[in-house]
Each structure stands twice: as structure tokens, then as C-alpha cells.
């Protein structure tokens, strides 16, 4: 059984909001909606939802400013929707604190998958996790001990490989942009050295026995996400 949650939808496209509402309610979620940025922020403050589905193309204000404002008072998962197909906008939203994104049009299956990841990660707490141990079906990460186990077998990671995995683990469930990762793991001067990241992500996948990128998922042109 999929866990249920309270979900806020902020989008000015009424048809889409109605369809989402029907679908999410049928799945057992509680749904609240708003058609503009200002009413949306109020709604989130009032209802304290676990997930916010936010359209970046709102009529009254830029969706990016809404992401920043929401992040100032809530740790809920933010899923941004963009109709423009504008990569830059998505990346900015993620940098500003959004957890994941969907490009319109999307199917319910896609939305549900993203929701599941966001909900599992956000269940009950805010901001980046402070947990010291992160466990998934096959993966176990002990952050203070710098120990990684795959299927109960310890894996040897280099210093940078571990730093990369640890950063993604601390933000598990969230799409981290290339810049975010490079700045945190390699340092501010490396923000554009994309190939470093590619090489290390590939090595990590090999060592974690994750050839398809199911654990360390690639968001093409945007960044990486550790799926827990």
C-alpha cells in the first residue's frame, strides 16, 4: 500500500488541477489547490502539506520566488512543473530548494513515482537529513564511520567517491544539480567541471553494482538523485 499524504497543487491551469485532484484523491491523498503564487504560499502556510506540486509559470509571480519563499518556512517536498521545457529554470528551482521536477505533459505514473520518492524522503522531517545511517533495499551507508555496504558486503570507496555518495545520501530523494554537487564536494572553483562528476558517478555506479542507474539516478542535463 502506498502511503498517503496531504498534497498542495499550485497551478493556474484549472483543467490540469482538476484532473490531478481527481487522480490524487482516488489514490487516497488529501489535495488542496491554489491558482496563483500569493494564494499558494498562504495555502501552504495554512495547510502544512507534505508535498507541494508547483507550476513555475504562474500568472502573478515567478515560480522561482515561490520556491525560495516556501523554503524559508517549510521543509516539505517541492515538486516543480514546467511547461516551458526550460532547463535553466528547472535547474534554478532545484538550486533554490526544489526537490524534483516534472516537465509537462507527464503521465500519472511518472508523477506517482516522483511523489513516492519525495514522500519517503520527506516523511516527517524538514531540510537535509541529519540521519547518520541511510539504508535502502541493498545499500547501507554509515556516514560517521565512512562505511558503505552493498548487499551486506563492504565496498571500498576512494575519498572523493565517498564524499559524492555522502552528499547525495544527505539529500536523498532530492535532485541535486551538477553545480550544487560540484560546489559542495569539489569546492567552489569546480562548479563547471562537469566531467569530474561524470567520471565519479560512473565509478560509483560500478562499485555500488548499479549499472542501470536505479540507485544513483541521472536527471539528464540537470543533475543526480540518490533514490532511497
Amino acid at each position: 500500500m502506498v502511503e498517503t499524504a496531504k498534497i498542495a497543487i499550485i497551478d493556474d491551469d484549472e483543467s490540469l488541477v482538476r484532473a490531478l485532484q481527481i487522480a490524487l484523491r482516488a489514490r487516497g491523498h488529501t489535495v488542496v489547490t491554489a491558482g496563483a503564487a500569493t494564494t499558494g504560499v498562504e495555502l501552504v502556510a495554512l495547510e502544512q502539506p507534505e508535498v507541494v506540486i508547483l507550476d513555475l509559470g504562474l500568472p502573478d509571480r515567478s515560480g522561482l520566488s515561490v520556491v525560495r519563499e516556501l523554503r524559508s518556512f517549510t521543509g516539505c517536498a517541492i515538486l516543480v512543473l514546467s511547461a516551458a521545457g526550460d532547463e535553466e529554470m528547472k535547474i534554478k528551482a532545484l538550486d533554490d530548494g526544489a526537490d524534483d521536477y516534472l516537465t509537462k505533459p507527464f503521465s500519472m505514473r511518472e508523477l506517482e513515482a516522483r511523489l513516492r520518492v519525495a514522500l519517503r524522503h520527506r516523511s516527517g522531517q524538514g531540510a537535509p537529513t541529519t540521519t547518520e545511517r541511510i539504508t535502502t533495499d541493498r545499500l547501507e551507508i554509515d556516514l560517521p564511520a565512512r562505511r558503505v555496504m552493498v548487499d551486506d558486503v563492504e565496498v571500498e570507496l576512494s575519498h572523493k567517491e565517498f564524499e559524492l555518495l555522502a552528499f547525495l545520501a544527505r539529500n536523498a530523494g532530492r535532485v541535486c544539480t551538477h553545480q550544487m554537487i560540484l560546489r559542495e564536494v569539489w569546492g567552489p572553483g569546480y562548479a563547471t567541471e562537469l566531467h569530474y562528476l561524470r567520471v565519479y558517478a560512473n565509478r560509483l555506479r560500478k562499485k555500488l553494482d548499479d549499472p542501470e542507474g536505479e540507485v544513483l539516478r541521472t536527471s539528464p542535463g540537470v543533475g543526480y538523485q540518490l533514490v532511497v
Binding site: 491551469d13 483543467s15 490540469l16 482538476r18 484532473a19 490531478l20 481527481i22 487522480a23 482516488a26 489514490r27 509559470g57 500568472p59 502573478d60 512543473l81 511547461a83 516551458a84 521545457g85 509537462k104 505533459p105 507527464f106 503521465s107 500519472m108 505514473r109 508523477l111
Partner: protein, 510 residues
Amino acid sequence: MTHARPAVHLAFYTTVVNRRPSKEFLRALLIFGLTLLILSLVLFSIRSHLSVATSALVLVIPVVVGVVAGGFSVGVVGVLSGFVVYDYFFIPPYYTLNVGAASNWVALVVYVVVVGILARVVASLRSARAQAIRRSEDLERLAVITQRLVTDLPMGEILPQILSDLVAAFGLQGAAVYLPTYDGLTELSGVGEAILPDELAALVPRGGGIGTVVKSEHRSKTYWRLVPLIAGADVVGGLVLKGDDALPYRDDLMRSFANALAALLQKHSLRLEAMRNSELEERDRWRRALLGSVSHDLRTPLASLTTSASTLAELKEELSTEQREELLATIERQSLRLARLVENLLDSSRIEANMLAPRIANVDTRELIDEALGAFGEAERALVHVTLDESIPSVAVDHVLVAQALANLIENGLRYCEPSTGVDVSATSTDSRVEIGVRDRGPGVDPSLGGRIFGRFEKGAGSPGAGLGLWIAQSFVELNGGIIGFREAADGGSVFLIDLPTANEMMVDG
């Protein structure tokens, strides 16, 4: 690479001296002969009363007349024949070429010297006068060319005129201007007899193009020649001349013609380039806007379509009948919206390509409005209130285009109206026109749009849509001989008006 300005090409505009006796020469000779004959007969009849010197004086006259009529060459003939006639008939002993007394010798020599000098002087006066006339003619032709250059006529009209001037001025068979293109020479304009491909090929320098020097060719009696047209340091084109004789050129006039043509071609190519650039810019803008509307306006209805359809597919069992119906209604509405958008995009491409020829026929105004409403789903149709008098006449339009224009106005109204008031469609008529009004009680037209409301890609701030609907409506209405306009309604909202011609009895019913 630099093009040295060719100095040689001037050398080709040299005067070609005609070796055959011209008509003018023969005519002058005849005038001279007749004058000489008449004066000789008169002198002969009164010879006994005249002195030898008097006859000499009178016999100067035919030579002067001959020189005036035919130039110095006639003068030479005149002096020789005058000498013979004078000696034979008027210097005793008569009818021999013997010159008797010493005084007669003096008279004869003085006659020849005086006539020779006179012929010389008169001939040079004559040629000076001819040159002056020619110069004033040249100036006149130049003035005509200059006049043509400053007129803002299209190239296609000026060029043939200048070429006609050229053909007339030089008595040519034909003349043409060519442009150098990547695969040879292309004729831009031609006058008179056509330049044959093989004639042209013979003029093209090895390596193609036009080159920088004048090139001449001839085959039996046909002569043709390629003159490069040079503006600044560039060869902008080539002038090809064709005549049935060695082409008679004069440096100054020919050069002026060539320079004028070169200047004209350069001006033309600059203008073409500017036009092409602005056309490219416009196309670029169009493409960008189209891409923008495709990515946003197509994705928005697609998002609800995909979500609704996939919800129906995946949650079949969990949904109530009402929820299923709502999702189905959303799918219908969004499909229609998408269809209208695609229709609009196609229409604007058709307008762009000038592909629309309206098929005008008589149409019932009510049917026209119904046709426009057919583009909307049931829920939207319920918001549109149509009030029409029974007496509203039919209109003479292309019903497909005008219904589309009306649908765009209604869609625009629906976008801004309040669900409680909806959109009102009504019509009024005069003898020859029907005016259909589409009214919403929305916020009115964004004042920053002002008069550009019907412009392509123009839309209010925050408004959905590609900004194509009203532009298409205007294009379609105007194609049908109608007028489109809008005004703010006194009690709020906007009224869009379409003014159409009423049905014509001559026209078949649509």
C-alpha cells in the same frame, strides 16, 4: 584580393572610322556638283563679259557649299574639280588645260590656294559645330540616365529604359545586363535582339565571371562585346552589346552609361541585401515565436490531456462515475482547444505563404455563427449567448474563413469573461453591411497593447495563447472584404466587431 581598376578598358571606346563612303558624303558631293554645274552654266553664258578673276571668285562658292555639307573630304574633291572646270572653261585658251598668259597662272594658283584654305577653315568650323551638337546630345542623354537613376522605380523598370536609351544612342541591335552568379552569368534585363548563349560564352573570360576588361568578338557581320560594370572595386555586373557593324563607341558617353549602370546595380544589390536581411529577421522572429507557442501552448492542454487520460487508464476501478465523466469532459475540451490551436498555427502559415484564396458565397449569418460555435465543447458553448434578429440578412463571405475568425474572437472572449456573464454574440445590419459583435465583460484590453491588439504575437501581459488568434481573425476578415475592430464597452469589458458585406443576389447560395 584587390581588383586593380583596369586602365585598358577605356582604350576600347575608340571611334571606329567608317571606310565605306557614307550617305552623307555622297549627298554633299551631289550638292557640290549641282552648285558647280549651275554656276558654271551661268558664268559660261556671260563669259565674254567677265574677267578671269571674277570667274575664280564665283567658283569659290560651290567648294564652300560642298565643305559645309560634307566636310573636308568633299572640299578636296571640290578643289580638284573646281581647278579643272576653271582652267578648262574660263581660262583662255578655252577647252584646253593650257594656261596662256602669266596673269592667268596667277589667277589659277590664287584660286587653288584660296579655295584650299577656305575648305580647311570651313571644314574645321563644321566639325567643331558637329562636336558641339554631339556634346549637347550626350549631355542630354546623360541627364536622362541621371534622371532615371534617382527615380525610385523598381530595378525591373529602370534597367530596360536605360538599355533602350543605349540601343537608340548607338544604333545597336541589342543590349543586356548580366549578373555574375555562382554558376555563370544570369541575364538581369535585355533589350532588342537576344544575346545567344554561345555568343555570351565566347565573351566570358577563362575561369568564368566577367573579368575586368572589355572583351569583343565578331562573327561575319555580327559584333558583340562585354563591358564590365565596375562600382568601387567590385565588378557588379556586365553589359553586353550587339550590333551588325563594328560597334561604334565614344569614350565619354559609353563610360557614363557603364558607370550609371554599375551604380544602379550596386544600389539594387544593397537594397536586395537589406530586404533579405529584414525578411530573414522577420522569419526568425516568426520561428522563435512559433517554437515558444508550441512548447508552451501545446504543452498546457497536453498536460491535462495526458494526466486525465492516464488517470482514467490507471485508476479505472477507483473512480466514481462523476469523476470519470469529469475527466472525459476535460479530455474533450482540451482536445478541442488543441485542435483550435493547431488550426491557428496552420492558418497563420497559410497567411504567411499567401495561400488563401477566399471562396465567397452567400451564407446565412446564423449558420455562420453556429459554425464558429462548433469549435467549442458543450461547457464553453453554454457560456456563449447568441441574440439575433430574424431579419438579419445573409452575408457574402467565405464561410470557413469567417467562421474561424469568429471562433477566434469567441475564444478570446471566453478567455477573459466571468463564468456568470459569459460572452454575448449579436448582429446588426444596414442595407449593405452586417455587423457581428462579440462581447465579453472581462477586464478589457490591456492598455499597453493599444492599437497593436490585432498584431501578430501581440498579447496582454500574463495572457495565455500565442498571440495569433486576433491576428488571424483580422487577416481572414480583411480577405473577405470585411472590417474588424474593437472598442471598450461602456459598462466594462470589450466588444469585438466584424463588419461584413451582405449577400449579393448575383451570388450563388453557399
